[in-house]
């Protein structure tokens, strides 16, 4: 790796990431001198918007390798934009959520920004060093976030669990990287080895194990439900969308860049992970009465579905796979944010509305919120006229193109199971008020205009992406990985 000089073009390309970092530092200093919740929120929102604005000049520099660690291309910028959008929504949700619960809510936004920084680096990384740095920045920011607002023992338990398992996963990841480095002599993704030796294969598998922890594929999924349940709802939203999305983005990039990923065994390993995740995730979700745990298990299944795109990549080329991943993740991010957003808006100040029973009769007490949750659940189930359906359609196309028939069969079975538990929630919401314990609007959190705007935006975008997906699809097709 030569010490590539950084010129103005490189700086422009890095502008979004630099803006994020600067915002984090500014918020840090601001908190030090003026502890004010509203100001911290506005600063964060301003920084995130500036990051979004900085994407345009960065895109203008074209696909560009910066310092050998990062590649700023349409793929990376798309994911950075998606994460920023998700972060803005999380900020809006968290503002209401924290106002009642946290003594010092300001650091939340700081940690959010650093986690976003990690995610953005991940989306652009083409090198094991940036991969690991991004991942650690993201994870370490998430530990305190998970334990943030509540003085609840469960939150602490969740954070500890996540901390320990993340540490283990990072260990696996590093060991895998070291083994791969030992064979290829390069830390860049594109490093080649003369032969697929046992060490190389072991390295690839260990990397996969590390990533599998983060994405909670089947044998590595045990932390998911507890962490989802223990973390505050806005943090769970962040964890479920930005953290997983970033790791998936880098996984696909690794798969495209690294010849290693095309070892014959990797398809078998990935296929097994995907199939098992779909089945186990959906089966476990069937038994849940807690909406957060249900969504946790369903996320395991969704990650399994999404792995199809990575597997298919080896047969159909990176372009279609990246498109599929981009669209599915966009849809999944919006949908999941909507679900957790509803949960945030429904939660009274002393606890979270996480039992399915909390939502009984919601259609008749708060129809707009119920409609949004229904839309979000239908989108997760992949019913037409929602963004989730187009994502599923994309996956079907990619997987059929790659002729992954057994996995597609599991996909269909998984969808059926998934439908069952999503519908159960929807029907519960449609039940008459008398049939369950419906929390009146009085018990729920005072929702501010910001949260309402965020929720309305989510609902609209899920519907619009489901009805008129053409513009996003065209954009993704033009900007996809080559």
């Amino acid at each position: 790796m030569s010490a590539a000089a950084i010129g103005s073009a490189e700086l422009t390309a890095l502008l979004p990431i630099v803006t994020l970092g600067t915002t984090a530092v500014v918020v840090l200093l601001w908190i030090a001198f003026r502890r004010n919740h509203a100001e911290a929120v506005w600063l964060t929102l301003g920084g995130l918007s500036a990051t979004l604005l900085a994407l345009a000049p960065a895109a203008g520099t074209g696909p560009r390798d910066v310092t050998g660690l990062l590649r700023i291309d349409g793929y990376a910028l798309f994911f950075i934009a998606l994460f920023c959008l998700a972060a803005i929504i999380v900020v809006l949700l968290a503002r209401d959520y924290l106002r009642e619960r946290a003594e010092q809510p300001e650091e939340f936004y700081l940690l959010l920004l650093t986690s976003l920084l990690g995610a953005s680096v991940l989306a652009a990384s083409t090198h094991f060093a940036s991969f690991f740095l991004g991942l650690e920045t993201l994870s370490i920011s998430l530990f305190p976030l998970i334990a943030y607002a509540t003085r609840d023992a469960r939150a602490l338990e969740a954070a500890t669990k996540y901390l320990v398992l993340s540490g283990v996963a990072s260990g696996f990841l590093l060991f895998g990287m070291a083994l791969v480095y030992a064979e290829t002599g390069s830390l860049a993704f594109g490093g080649t080895a003369p032969a697929a030796t046992a060490v190389l294969q072991a390295g690839a598998v260990l990397i996969l194990v590390g990533v599998g922890f983060k994405l909670s594929f089947f044998p590595f999924h045990l932390w998911t439900a507890d962490v989802y349940q223990g973390a505050p709802a806005p943090v769970t939203a962040l964890l479920a969308t930005v953290s997983k999305g970033a790791v998936f983005a880098v996984l696909l990039r690794y798969g495209v860049d690294a010849p290693l990923a095309r070892l014959p065994m990797s398809e078998t390993v990935l296929g097994t992970l995907a199939g098992a995740s779909m089945l186990i995730g959906n089966l476990a979700a069937l038994a849940q009465h807690n909406l957060k745990r249900l969504l946790a298990y369903s996320s395991i299944a969704h990650m399994g579905y999404l792995l199809l795109a990575v597997i298919a990549m080896q047969r159909i080329g990176p372009a279609l796979a990246a498109e599929t991943l981009g669209f599915y993740l966009a849809a999944y991010t919006l949908t999941t944010l909507a679900a957790f957003g509803v949960m945030t808006a429904m939660s009274p100040a002393d606890r979270e509305a996480e039992e399915i029973g909390d939502y009984a009769g919601l259609f008749w007490t708060r129809p707009a919120i119920a409609l949004l949750l229904t839309l979000s659940l239908l989108s997760l189930a992949g019913i037409p006229l929602t963004a989730g359906f187009i994502g599923k359609f994309y996956l079907f196309i990619a997987a059929s193109h790659a002729a992954l028939w057994p996995l597609l069969g599991l996909f269909v079975v998984g969808s059926g199971l998934g439908l069952y538990y999503y519908l159960r929630v929807i029907f519960r919401m449609a039940a008459s008020v008398g049939e369950g314990t419906a929390p009146g609007p009085s018990g729920a959190l005072q929702v501010s205009l910001g949260t309402e705007a965020a929720l309305a935006f989510l609902g609209l975008s899920i519907a619009v992406l489901g009805l008129l997906p053409a513009s996003l699809i065209d954009f993704l097709a033009a900007e996809a990985l080559r």
């Binding site: 010490a3 970092g21 840090l28 200093l29 030090a32 001198f33």
Partner: protein
């Protein structure tokens, strides 16, 4: 591959040293087994202060102010490694490298300011802080 062999040979003393350490530790652990007296009593099996029954509550409230200080030390000390690395290559990287280092150090500085403002460098206990603030109000 010649280089590798040289390296391996130069590692031989290190390996011998490592084995010696293992041996010494093993011997030291083995000696009491043969020499020392053995007694069994209830108090001996207590993990805390073995041999002496503890009296009163063992959960003492210790001021842990040294703890954040230690953490700060480790953090800022670690960052120094980067500065060392830069110092080695200072001529090669030139002014851009200097700028990058400046950014790095100023971010560190910002963190320090934050911690300072947070009161993390305040060595007093909470009670002392309270007393001081009361005093200053009266004065």
């Amino acid at each position: 591959m010649n280089v590798d062999r040289v390296q391996v040979e130069s590692l031989v003393p290190l390996a011998i040293y490592f084995l010696l350490v293992l041996g010494v530790v093993g011997v030291m652990l083995a000696i009491p087994r043969f020499v020392a007296q053995r007694r069994r009593s209830q108090a001996r099996d207590e993990p805390f202060e073995s041999g002496i029954l503890s009296v009163g509550d063992t959960h003492l409230h210790l001021g842990v102010h040294f703890w954040p200080i230690a953490i700060f030390f480790v953090i800022f000390d670690l960052e120094a490694i980067f500065i060392f690395a830069w110092a080695v290559a200072v001529r090669e990287v030139g002014w851009p490298g200097y700028l990058e280092m400046l950014v790095f150090v100023s971010v560190l500085l910002a963190a320090l300011v934050y911690l300072w403002k947070l009161g993390a460098l305040d060595w007093r206990t909470r009670r002392q802080q309270l007393q001081d603030s009361l005093l200053s109000e009266r004065g």
